[in-house]
Amino acid sequence: MTLLWLSLIVLIPLAALFLKTTELSLDQFLRIVTGPRVAHALQLSFGLSLAAAAVNLLFGSAVVWALVRYEFPGRRVFDAIVDIPFALPTAVAGIALTNLYAENGWLGRLLAPLGIQVAFTPLGIFVALVFVGLPFVVRTVQPVLEDLEAELEEAAATLGASRLTTIRRVIFPAILPALLTGFALAFARAVGEYGSVIFIAGNLPNVSEIAPLLIVIRLEEFRYADATAIAAVMLVASFLILLAINLLQRWSERRTRGY
């Protein structure tokens, strides 16, 4: 029954996508995917997603550490709002961010005199992608860090390790798989993000047009072949990311079993 449901909802639709792609010759496929507009959109999507996931990895680690290890006013509130980017409809997020960073918005007004324009530029897309990917690093690392036994750190301290050494040599290796998984999840989410980005991006071809948007545009032009080709590239990318995540998880399971 699991298999049946899975194939009905996931496998058959995705197979249809590939079936559609095979209607194109390899030559046609390559011409579509390497066309300047498509290539730029794909580059933009993957590049900005990578950057946003990296920012989330860095700041997410700080957030996780503060939430798990420290007591400070509002900790519970901050802990709760980490999930908001996940729960908020992405379109709402996109409109709110556009509002904030537009030239007369709360934050855009402060940035405009500095010559920084966020809304309707790739920078705006980056901000939106950081927003949507924010919960993933935090929520993947949090349980691991919470479960980390105090004895490990105590043992390190009694053996004369400085705090920094303990963090670097004891804690970091233990949470590394979770960090990487969170990074990959944030990246995967960012690559596919559509709702929040289209509002803030400005959607100029060759400047701030992301790949998912280009799929929608092609679909509306009834150029199904083009849309499918772009989708196939992105689908393969998602597959690879997921595969990496699962391999990571398996690797970390093997490692923790060794303790």
């Binding site: 700041f59 509002n99 596919g192």
Partner: protein, 229 residues
Amino acid sequence: MSDQPLTLPGYPSRTGYPPGMRAFRTPSMVLRQVKPASDARADPTPMRWAIIGITIAFLTLFVVIPLINVFAQAFSKGLEAYVAAIGNADALAAIKLTLIVAAISVGLNLVFGIVAAWAITKYEFAGKSLLITVMDLPFSVSPVIAGLVFVLLFGAQGYLGPWLQAHDIKIIFALPGIVLATVFVTFPFVARELIPLSDSSRTSHDRAERLFRSASRHHSSADRPNVSK
């Protein structure tokens, strides 16, 4: 404070005891003297403040301010305008549709998510990790691609389009299509949440199972409390 002579009303003064005899202490007095188990986890103060500062700044910039902005926008024209906008027939219909779709797809995903999590954690079979990967796919696949895929399948030029049209079944641009897309997008959540739970309860479950086996009621009673959380 621990070595200062304490005088509590109703209790004999500590100084009144002859040497060698232990002072009378209430449990709370004893407890208060216990030192924290360890300070091995304490971080240097500057690091502590830097991390807390980064956390608050980052979350404020990326979550709190946008959230406040949403509400500020919603109520910018006053409460009346807000109520009027919500009460509008189109808005009501949209909210109703959203709730119906959510109810149907969450129900479907709940049932099949539990079944899938059960199959994955309780049984061993070939291709299990592949199954998990495929189950995760909707999570990492762009929602746009999900939509495209359903158009390819059920749209007028799609693989099933002509057949559906001949039988006058509407999927795309209708409720079934919306439900289908929502189910696709939220597919991994239930199973993904349940799998670690059943994994960790497996050892204790196995123990319970052994206990219950003679009574032959091991399935129903050992698992349910954990899942319903």
